[in-house]
């Protein structure tokens, strides 16, 4: 079972990102469960979401304390110790940012995939909604899922022109993500 923790802010689509990913895994015959943890729902507030993806049914209903993978939609949290808390050894991060990694932010972080998802979303959708782009980047960085089931799952969340724009975002995220390894 792979455990993924999503860090974002209300309005960035972190919750939807976690759901799209669960949807994509289920499309490949696997199991997925994702849930966010917040109290009052409001824009701008920190949002954490959790995703578990597995070959067998996911029964745990707890929050995730030792993630294998971090998905960070809010660039301001890229260095936050709270984000890296509990990351397993050889951990992976998928990050929405326009800057390259300057230093090694956590000893357990082995690989980071960086994509400027805000910029891509502004170009494709018209506003900074980084979530579908980051899911494409997730697929490319981790190799845990193909791009196709991700694109197929988008149809459950968007329609018409929005769907087309989000498909372009996910494809560009997959293609344009830059992966860095910390030796």
């Amino acid at each position: 079972m792979i455990e993924v923790r999503f860090h974002g802010r209300g309005g960035q689509g972190a919750v939807t990102a976690s759901r799209i990913l669960a949807n994509a895994f289920v499309r490949t015959g696997k199991y997925g469960a994702s849930f966010p943890m917040f109290g009052f729902e409001r824009r701008g507030a920190p949002v954490t979401a959790f995703g578990r993806f597995s070959d067998t049914p996911v029964r745990e209903k707890t929050q995730i304390y030792n993630p294998d993978i971090l998905v960070v939609l809010d660039p301001a949290q890229r260095q936050s110790p709270a984000v890296f808390k509990g990351l397993v050894a050889e951990g992976v991060m998928v990050l929405n940012d326009d800057e390259k990694p300057l230093e090694h932010p956590d000893k357990n972080l082995e690989k980071v995939g960086i994509v400027d998802a805000d910029k891509i979303a502004i170009e494709e959708i018209g506003f900074a909604m980084p979530n579908t782009c980051i899911i494409g980047a997730f697929a490319a960085t981790t190799g845990l899922i193909e791009l196709d089931p991700v694109l197929e799952s988008l149809g459950d969340y968007f329609g018409g022109k929005k769907l087309e724009a989000n498909i372009r975002c996910a494809k560009r995220g997959f293609k344009e993500v830059e992966v860095f390894n910390f030796a």
Partner: protein, 405 residues
């Protein structure tokens, strides 16, 4: 959702989404509800299905939860199949109407997404809302995951509207942990749900209000009349136990999914020590049990699926001969030290022989019931079984003695 399909569909939906789809599949005539966190998504989805023609029901947008419950009760009295959903503050705000619905023996089906209750403002998980209203005369069912939410709503209609029962049913599930948890759910075909509920059409028609006809409706009893109505209500609650077992078996035949009946017994047969719990935490408990079983520990879980009526007979049968049981409550019982379900279980402790009973309180106000917490409960229950000195009540995530309060 394809309403003409004869096949089930695999979807990734939240607990709230599962509740909404399930309600639609049961073809209610009248839906009235008011949004509240963490239930809002149900109302959004139902409004969407209504707007797109998928939900062919009278959808009443009301000014609050009290009106919602009064609306569905009145519609139910007129013979309609009804649905509503609420949570926490909303449940409290409709309290008098909830009592009126059961007093009138209106077979209302309501989803209650469990959340902490007024007093302390908390937008967080907990079963305190359910506990605060447990003596309202409704049947209470509790789900563990999104699939079971969908399945229990369907079973709830079979139970509530059964001619021999006619008692409203509340389907409970943990807010935040299940309400927003998106997971793999098999959505049955419309036809299979129609077939499952068709049995109700073969039963005698229940008494209902008919325009133009004179009929006293709404329970109003003085002395004997009141006593008679209450006694009959209690008898119906007792009948609901076996009825739910039957419905669960029928459900398994139709949909190929089984959860047990009033209780689920998970690896209980040879277990010496047992955790007793309900709701979403049971998934985590099962995972820990599987891990600890590999180390040779004989542990099991008794999951309470039907909380009202309380499945005393089933619990006695399942726990007899066990050494120690730890009852996990996601709520508190003011005036008693143990949690509410533990207090209720202790009411028949004499029939449980030498079983030692411990109370664990955890998970209130969104406190995460982690695997580490479950491991702690198990090790305390093992210590209890060995006759070691273990506190009768432990607040797992708060390390203080109640005497210090």
């Amino acid at each position: 959702m394809n309403m003409n399909s004869e096949k089930s569909e695999l979807k990734v939906i939240t607990g709230n989404g599962a509740a909404a789809i399930s309600a639609v599949l049961c073809r209610p005539d009248v839906v009235a509800a008011y949004p509240i966190t963490p239930q809002t998504e149900i109302i959004e989805k139902l409004s969407h299905y209504h707007a797109t023609g998928r939900l062919d029901a009278e959808m009443v947008t009301v000014d609050g939860e009290n009106s919602a419950m009064n609306t569905v009760t009145a519609a139910s009295a007129a013979g309609a199949r009804v649905f509503t959903a609420t949570s926490s503050w909303g449940l409290v705000f409709m309290y008098d109407a909830v009592l009126a619905a059961s007093g009138a023996r209106a077979p209302v089906v309501m989803v209650n997404v469990n959340r902490e209750t007024p007093g302390i403002i908390a937008v967080s998980a907990g079963q305190q809302d359910m506990i605060s209203i447990r003596d309202c005369g409704w049947i209470f069912l509790i789900a563990e995951d999104s699939q079971e939410i969908l399945d229990l709503v369907i079973m709830a209609y079979r139970l509530a509207e059964d001619y021999d029962i006619q008692v409203p049913v509340m389907v409970h599930y943990d807010g935040f942990y299940l309400s927003y948890m998106a997971e793999r759910v098999e959505v049955p075909s419309q036809k299979s749900v129609d077939d499952f509920l068709a049995v109700l059409k073969t039963q005698p028609e229940r008494t209902k209000l008919v325009p133009g006809q004179k009929l006293g409706c709404g329970a109003h009893g003085i002395l004997e009349g009141y006593v008679e109505l209450r006694h009959k209500h209690c008898a119906a609650m007792e009948r609901a136990k076996d009825k739910f077992e039957e419905i669960s078996l029928d459900f398994e035949k139709q949909f190929n999914r089984s959860y047990g009946g009033q209780i689920e017994e998970y690896r209980l047969d040879d277990a010496e020590i047992v955790l007793v719990a309900s709701g979403s935490m049971c998934g985590t408990i099962k995972t820990v049990i599987d891990e600890q079983r590999e180390k040779g520990l004989k542990i099991g879980l008794l999951r309470i699926r039907m909380f009202r009526p309380f499945p005393s007979e089933k619990i006695i049968k399942a726990l007899k001969g066990k050494k120690c049981a730890g009852v996990v409550d996601r709520s508190i019982c003011f005036g008693f030290k143990p949690g509410p379900m533990c207090v209720e279980l202790k009411s028949f402790s004499r029939e449980l022989g030498d079983l030692k009973i411990l109370s664990f309180i955890d998970g209130i106000a969104n406190t995460d019931i982690t695997k580490i917490n479950v491991e702690k409960m198990i090790s305390m229950t093992i210590a209890g079984a060995k006759g070691e000195n273990v506190p009768e009540v432990t607040w797992i995530s708060y390390d203080k003695d109640l005497k210090e309060c």
